[in-house]
């Protein structure tokens, strides 16, 4: 059985925190540039230009792309033939603190949701999957809360068709409006249980934008086109670019239900992955 030390995991998590916060994902940057080229509205073009410039400044100066460096999310795919030497969860949380401190990122986490308290760097929200193989895949998603606050879940009836789901996704984006830093990336989770659909909606954000392999490609493109007709635009001042992509994930569900969740990301969709 392959052994991986908790220390190594800690080090890699800290590096991923820095990479995710300083270097915008290439697929996100590519879609931003494409939106800039397509945009005809003067103000929208100016804002998209600033967003693209911001990513260059962040990368060159090792500055956070956005001051909201998120409630750090860490997704772990743990190969079942790996033995972690040490405390895995502790290593992940220590890695987050190490990375956030080193990168002068923001301490946005309060230890008590009701009584708040002094903001800290962690703990992270850790999602663990056991998979086959002898590797560990680590992904850090520092998602800001301006957009996280716009998450929606709806438990549809099993007899309700796809049209009502489409309307729900579009209306979730509409209600986010200018607030959550458009142009958005829209993550959608269909099926599973209430909790699982929300998790899928978030995991959908980790998938490469506008990837042609998706099973739901036609639906994704239809929603993408509908959302971009909302004229919310960059900063909510109108324009063609209201979303950069729609990513859908799905899972079997119960005969009595049809959960659908929407998890919106701001244009600064940041994540970094490493397989060890």
């Amino acid at each position: 059985m392959r052994e991986i030390s908790a220390d190594k995991i800690k080090k890699i998590v800290s590096e991923l925190c820095l990479q995710a916060n300083f270097v915008l994902r290439p697929d996100v940057l590519c879609m931003l540039k494409q939106s800039f080229r397509k945009e005809t509205d003067k103000t929208a073009r100016r804002i998209l230009g600033a967003i693209i410039e911001n990513s260059s400044i962040a990368k060159a100066n090792k500055l956070a792309i956005c001051q909201d460096t998120g409630l750090p999310g860490v997704f772990v795919e743990l190969g079942q033939d790996v033995r972690v030497k040490g405390d895995l969860k502790k290593a992940i949380n220590q890695g987050v603190v190490l990375g956030y401190r080193k990168g002068y990122l923001r301490n946005s986490v309060v230890s008590d949701p009701l009584f708040r308290g002094k903001p800290q760097f962690g703990p992270a929200i850790i999602h663990m999957d056991i998979v086959t193989g002898n590797k560990i895949k680590l992904t850090v998603l520092p998602k800001g809360f301006g957009c996280e606050n716009k998450t929606q879940l709806k438990m549809f009836k099993p007899t309700q068709g796809i049209d009502i789901i489409k309307d729900f996704v579009v209306s979730a984006v509409k209600s986010a409006g200018a607030d959550a830093c458009p142009p958005y990336v829209v993550g959608v989770g269909i099926g599973g249980s209430a909790d699982y659909s929300v998790l899928m909606a978030k995991k959908a954000l980790l998938r490469k934008l506008q990837a042609s392999k998706s099973k739901f490609r036609i639906l994704e493109l239809e929603l993408f086109n509908r959302i971009n007709k909302l004229n919310i635009g960059p900063m909510g001042l109108g324009g063609k670019a209201t979303c950069l992509a729609v990513n859908i994930e799905a899972y079997p569900t119960h005969i009595a239900g049809l959960p659908v969740a929407v998890n919106i990301s701001c244009h600064a969709l940041r994540s970094a992955t490493k397989v060890i």
Binding site: A50, N54, C66, S108, G144, A178
Partner: protein
Amino acid sequence: MNLQNLKAGDDILFSGTIFTARDQAHKKLSEALKKKQKLPIDIRGKIIYYCGPTQTPKGKVMGSCGPTTSSRMDEFTPLLLQAGLKGMIGKGARSEEVIKAIKKYKAVYFITFAGCGALLSKFVIKKELVAFKDLGPEAIYKLEVKDFPLIVAVDAQGRSII
């Protein structure tokens, strides 16, 4: 700069003093106002920036410092405007009540490049902690800014572009 002459949709480059304050600082300021206590900063005639910056990297004046969602401050804003606040910088739309109060007290709501904290840090020339240190990134910082890019989203006549 006379804020009252600005029109919704105007692009400006602002140079001067602004104070950061977001959720918890707003709660504290409005509690103090309700109890008729002295505020830790004189907000009369001032501009508040809805911003919680990252830590400041070594050798830099300011870390990443973009705007946060303004609507979360809506419930506190009319009281602050009544107390003399003249400007706010944030992102996103405001409530009807806030727009009415902006008109009533002849204030202005600005928006700035959202999600562009690294870019905006370049326009901050000085940063000083002035209140609520325990709130960490939510503390009130006095910032001196130069050519800070703003768009007038709601003007003193209550006209809105957002």
